[in-house]
């Protein structure tokens, strides 16, 4: 985009002689990007936005930004009328604005008062209605300019001729007392039409019939083709470039999604969520480009995708599974859990001291496990235990519901099926929790899925989130 348009805004008109143009200007701008509509698309709720803007909004929220009605990208239709309006206005804007800015000075000059100045102004712009005392001389010039304009604009006359011929064709109807079939245009008696319409195959009237009439019989088809010539433009465009369909990312495995991305030859790195987001953004960019009347080439689109990716933050360095770096507030996280972390450390130290005292008893039960593992397990259990001590059954229930796949009935069978390397971890819990506790299934989870334990504790210990308002 050129810098000229970049800075332009509807308020440019406010201090000119045409302040009403501000409303026109802002009506031709997208409400999301505040730029002139770029490939305007109309939603099913009849709001218009740039193709890319509305695609981004819908993929983020699924709602129309203006009225919050649910909508889908597949329901978007190109708004060619608005597009033509914008294109025309963009061309007219700079000169109009310049004129409007100067116009305010001209008015001042005119009010200051020289008749000559007024006349000149009247000649090239709007004529004041109240000028009753206008000289005959000026009337002459007006007439003469009118004459000139009609001579210099033969194109208008051509349009008139077309119109007349069209009208002339219509006026044939009463002459022969026949009517034309609404489907095939062949002429017949009025009574015969109804029977004919039922059997009409839509093929145009036979050439014999046409030739029998005067040469003007072929004329009516001409204006029709003129009318249809403009809408045909987008239809040929959309057929030339296929839109990228939306995917149901949750249905795709990571590898399948990676394959999809490489099929589209866009970067296929990152985890599932990163790839899903990239695919969404690429589909938005690509599909918006398909709609555009001035499509850009692939390299430019890839550059846009790259810029978008950079705006995502250090997505690639993020190691938080499932959480994009920009969404994760790491400082906040450590700050928020600071108390809990220090509690855990203190707890662990205390426990260790206790353990040193009573080491003999516990070591009989599970001698094979490592000391540090034991501590982690103990501490985690302990923190629940403090909360749960009063009413253990209920706590077991709530925690059980929070942990994925914790079905105590399956416990026995699953422990036997466990791979050997996980047994020590399970042993840790076994030593501290009673048999059949809901913690057992959770220990089967890989270490990467441990963090939920913290959220559990956080919830039981009291929520920082406000309930009201």
């Amino acid at each position: 985009m050129d810098s000229n348009l970049d800075l332009a805004d509807s308020t440019d008109w406010l201090n000119t002689s045409l302040p009403a143009f501000a409303a026109l200007d802002s009506a031709l701008r997208c409400q999301v990007c505040k730029d002139f509509y770029d490939t305007p698309m109309i939603t099913s709720c009849s709001h218009t936005f740039c193709s890319l803007c509305i695609r981004q909004c819908l993929s983020a929220e699924g709602k129309c930004p203006a009225c919050r009605a649910s909508d889908q990208t597949s329901k978007l239709r190109i708004n060619t009328t608005v597009q033509d309006l914008v294109e025309a206005f963009k061309v007219a804007r700079p000169t109009a604005l310049e004129l409007a800015r100067r116009g305010s000075f001209v008015d001042v000059d005119a009010q200051a008062g020289q008749r000559g100045g007024r006349k000149r102004k009247a000649d090239n712009s709007i004529l004041d209605e109240d000028e009753e005392e206008a000289h005959s001389q000026r009337r002459k010039t007006r007439r003469s300019t009118r004459g000139v304009s009609s001579q210099t604009m033969p194109s208008q006359e051509v349009i008139y001729v077309d119109d007349e011929e069209d009208g002339g064709d219509a006026s044939y109807q009463p002459e022969d007392g026949l009517v034309s079939c609404p489907i095939c245009q062949s002429r017949m008696k009025e009574a015969a039409v109804f029977n004919h319409v039922e059997n009409c195959d839509g093929t145009p009237a036979s050439s014999r019939q046409r030739e029998s009439r005067s040469g003007s019989a072929t004329q009516p088809s001409q204006p029709k083709s003129l009318i249809f010539s403009r809408p045909s433009r987008p239809s040929t465009r959309s057929s030339s470039q296929q839109h990228i369909p939306q995917l149901n990312y949750s249905m795709l495995r990571e590898n399948a999604l990676r394959k999809k991305l490489s099929e589209l030859s866009i970067p296929a790195s990152g985890n599932h969520q990163q790839m899903a987001r990239r695919h969404t953004e690429w589909a938005n960019l690509y599909n918006a480009n398909c709609d555009s009347s001035h499509p850009r080439n692939r390299t430019e689109l890839l550059r846009d995708l790259n810029a978008w990716e950079r705006a995502q933050g250090q997505a690639h360095t993020s190691k938080m599974g499932g959480v994009m770096a920009k969404d994760f507030d790491s400082a906040g996280w450590s700050e928020r859990n600071k108390l809990q972390f220090s509690d855990l450390i203190a707890e662990a130290k205390k426990k260790r001291l206790e353990k040193l005292g009573t080491a003999d008893e516990s070591k009989k039960d599970d001698g094979e496990k490592a000391d540090d593992q034991q501590e982690i397990g103990d501490v985690e259990y302990k923190s629940h235990d403090i909360e749960a001590s009063k009413d253990p059954p209920m706590d077991v229930e709530t925690i059980g519901s929070l942990l994925p796949s914790s079905t105590p009935t399956q416990d026995g069978s699953q422990t036997t099926a466990l791979p050997p390397q996980i047994i020590p971890i399970e042993g840790t819990n076994e030593s501290t929790t009673p048999a059949g506790s809901p913690f057992r299934p959770s220990s089967k989870l890989s270490p990467a899925r441990k963090p939920p334990m913290f959220t559990v504790t956080e919830r039981t210990m009291g929520n920082t989130q406000p309930e009201v308002p």
């Binding site: 308020t11 999301v32 930004p65 928020r336 406000p466």
Partner: protein, 153 residues
């Protein structure tokens, strides 16, 4: 970037014209802006006071809502008293939340909404649990799950 372009336009518009009682204090970059608001009518709770708003824009603005909080500065020493504004400046307004936000909103409309939110207020109080929330909350405003129940604001 799209966010910078849009913010540039908004800023230009605001420099041309601002509603009464709202003024831009600083907008040096496209990340953090400060805006002052004043309550125009004679509401005794806010009479003769100016409040400073801090806008924090993400690179995905306007698709994502900006983070808007009241801040204390030497010239604006108070966080307005309001049953939906915590004393640490965090505002509970659906407009600023993910569900309530729409890309059609802009800085000016947010400032005006907050201004009218103050104008319409008659209670000289903080939200329930304010002290506790301010002490414990370390979440960014955008991560807080507010539940919106008061439709009178």
């Amino acid at each position: 970037m799209a966010a910078a372009r849009r913010l540039g336009k908004e800023l230009q518009k605001m420099q041309n014209h601002m509603p009464d009682g709202i003024s831009v204090v600083s907008a040096d970059n496209f990340e953090i802006w400060f805006i002052d608001i004043k309550v125009l009518d004679d509401n005794p709770i806010y009479r003769d006071q100016t409040f400073r708003l801090k806008f924090h824009f993400s690179p995905h603005y306007p698709i994502e809502a900006p983070e808007v909080t009241f801040v204390i500065t030497p010239t604006t020493p108070k966080i307005p008293m309001h049953p939906h504004i915590y004393s640490n400046g965090i505002i509970c307004l659906d407009l600023l939340d993910r569900q309530g936000w729409s890309p059609v909103h802009n800085v000016e409309s947010i400032a005006m909404s907050l201004q009218s939110m103050l104008t319409g207020n008659e209670k000289d109080e903080r939200p329930p649990g304010d002290e506790d929330f301010c002490r414990r909350n370390t979440l960014r405003p955008r991560d807080i799950n507010f539940s919106f129940h008061d439709n009178t604001v």
